[in-house]
């Protein structure tokens, strides 16, 4: 318990210090674009009203979750297929490397041309950005399945769906989680980028609107909300990870304790 309290104190310590420094350093600021932190904080209650949460944060988060979920689903499905088959790997490797090397924001105008300005495009933008780390890490994870374990499966004639569920996916899960974690932060970035062009709601849209309307403290508060969204999602991700990879961390702990 005391250790947990200590950890929380450590984790919160630096942000608190930074905020305090910011608060006093900016206190006398006359700059229009860099208002005192006190004014940014004061902007929160009238900016992030219930209507705005429903009208802007919720659509963003829903699009993010759908886009990210699709990236996860497609990335793992394609990754398992590619990782499990040598010829498919040789066939697709150059293309995957090429596609991965394209910065996803570049694809936004193309996606808008193809699929219009609707919600579908904004979801696609998130999926297209987030899929690569998941896909490539899944390929590596499936390829790295322990040989002895794979042989055990083969000799007991464990095939198909059962093999996928009990061998490939769990064995690759530590790698998949690494990819999924990267994809989460990319997805948040893509969510904002997707909302910068031709939208009428969303977090990214709101921040841009405040900037264009010279509502600077409100704009800063929007940046805060985006950051907080990232922190919350990462925390939820961490909780899920601990559940999914419980065995993995336990095995690692056992290995570390043995000479």
């Amino acid at each position: 318990m005391r250790r947990a309290v200590g950890r929380v104190a450590l984790a919160l310590g630096l942000p608190v210090v930074l905020l305090v420094v910011w608060w006093f350093a900016s206190a006398g600021s006359q700059s229009f674009y860099e208002p005192p932190l006190s004014r940014i904080v004061a902007a929160f209650p009238h900016t992030w009203t219930w209507a705005r949460i429903r009208g802007d944060i919720a659509p963003s988060v829903i699009r993010l979750l759908i886009g990210y979920g699709l990236a996860l689903l497609l990335g793992v499905a394609i990754g398992v297929a590619v990782g499990a088959s040598r010829w498919l790997r040789s066939l697709t490797e150059p293309i995957l490397e090429f596609l991965r090397a394209i910065p996803p924001p570049v694809l936004v105008p193309i996606l808008i041309l193809i699929s219009g300005l609707g919600d579908r495009t904004k979801v696609l933008v998130i999926t297209v950005g987030g899929i690569w780390p998941i896909l490539l890490n899944t390929v590596e994870g499936v390829r790295g399945v322990d040989e002895v374990l794979a042989d055990s499966c083969r000799s007991y004639r464990i095939h198909g769906w059962l093999r996928l569920r009990t061998l490939l996916l769990p064995a690759a899960s530590p790698q998949i989680v690494v990819g999924a974690r990267q994809a989460l932060s990319i997805s948040i970035i893509m969510m904002v980028i997707g909302e910068l062009l031709g939208t009428t709601n969303g977090l990214g849209y709101t921040v841009i609107e405040f900037q264009r309307g010279f509502q600077i403290p409100e704009m800063w508060s929007g940046v805060f909300v985006l950051g907080l969204l990232g922190v919350v999602l990462t925390a939820i991700f961490g909780l899920l990870e601990r559940r999914v990879l419980r065995w993995y961390h336990a095995v690692r702990a056992v290995e570390r304790s043995r000479p």
Partner: protein
């Protein structure tokens, strides 16, 4: 039950051919326990993987109950040396043992009955809920043996299963193998580099040469059927047999062509 005739295995690697097995011919009758022993690096594991259908042979053939082995055969189970890598760390012990039975399509009630029986047979009746990594090395290997038993194979292959456990555990596990062989009547091929272990366990000991490997001797072990770690190992006949096998292996090692 098991017929291996003129088995040859050549690995093709990086333009260099490595002849792991030159000519292996041996048969194991139904219900027999045969130990294969040879100097380290003589391709014992390769032989076992060929018999288990995990590795294609270069020439010669393997027959299980008259049927040529072309892939992992029904009614054959393998216990690997690396117990830590042959059990699924994300599955509980009982699920590990039950997995091959699920692949076989057995009903749940029958599965749990076989799992309980197998775990009881290896003296781990209460370990079903544990994870493999919570158990000691010897216990993990017992679980691997239980998994093989629950599968109800006609032929059980064991690849140096006790090479990585301490001496006391090893002696216990050797006696366990003899007991299980008696009670189940399974045909058992046991590969080891430990001469004492081979003589102690086997009805026959097949001595392999160093690489390129062939059978140098097929020796009947005329020790009484009841074996005991203390009295059997001090039996003058046991000492005679192990000395004989040891001398044969030494001779093949010194006769190794310098290349």
């Amino acid at each position: 039950m098991l017929e291996i005739q003129g088995l040859r295995k050549v690995y093709d690697g990086h333009g260099r051919q490595i002849e792991a097995l030159r000519d292996i011919t041996l048969t194991v009758a139904a219900g027999e326990i045969v130990c294969v022993v040879g100097p380290s690096g003589c391709g014992k594991t390769t032989l076992l993987r060929c018999i288990g259908g995990l590795l294609p042979t270069t020439s010669g053939h393997v027959r299980l109950a008259g049927t040529p082995v072309t892939g992992p055969a029904d009614g054959l189970a393998i216990v690997f040396q690396e117990y830590g890598r042959s059990l699924f760390p994300w599955l509980r012990v009982a699920d590990n043992v039950a997995l091959p039975l699920r692949a076989k399509g057995l009903a749940k009630a029958q599965r749990s009955r076989l799992v309980a029986e197998a775990l009881a047979a290896v003296n781990l009746p209460d370990a079903g809920h544990a994870y493999p990594w919570q158990l000691s090395g010897g216990m993990q290997q017992r679980v691997a043996i239980a998994r093989a038993l629950a599968y109800q194979p006609r032929v059980l292959l064991m690849d140096e299963p006790f090479a990585a456990v301490d001496a006391q555990t090893r002696a216990d596990l050797e006696d366990l193998v003899r007991t299980l062989w008696h009670t189940t009547g399974v045909t058992l091929l046991f590969v080891t580099h430990d001469i004492d272990e081979a003589v102690y366990l086997g009805q026959r000991v097949v001595v392999l040469s160093s690489s390129p490997t062939h059978v140098v001797e097929d020796l009947a072990i005329d020790l009484p059927d009841e074996r005991d770690q203390l009295s059997t190992r001090s039996d003058p006949r046991f000492v005679e047999l192990r000395t004989h096998v040891y001398a044969r292996i030494k001779r093949t090692e010194t006769a190794k062509p310098v290349s």
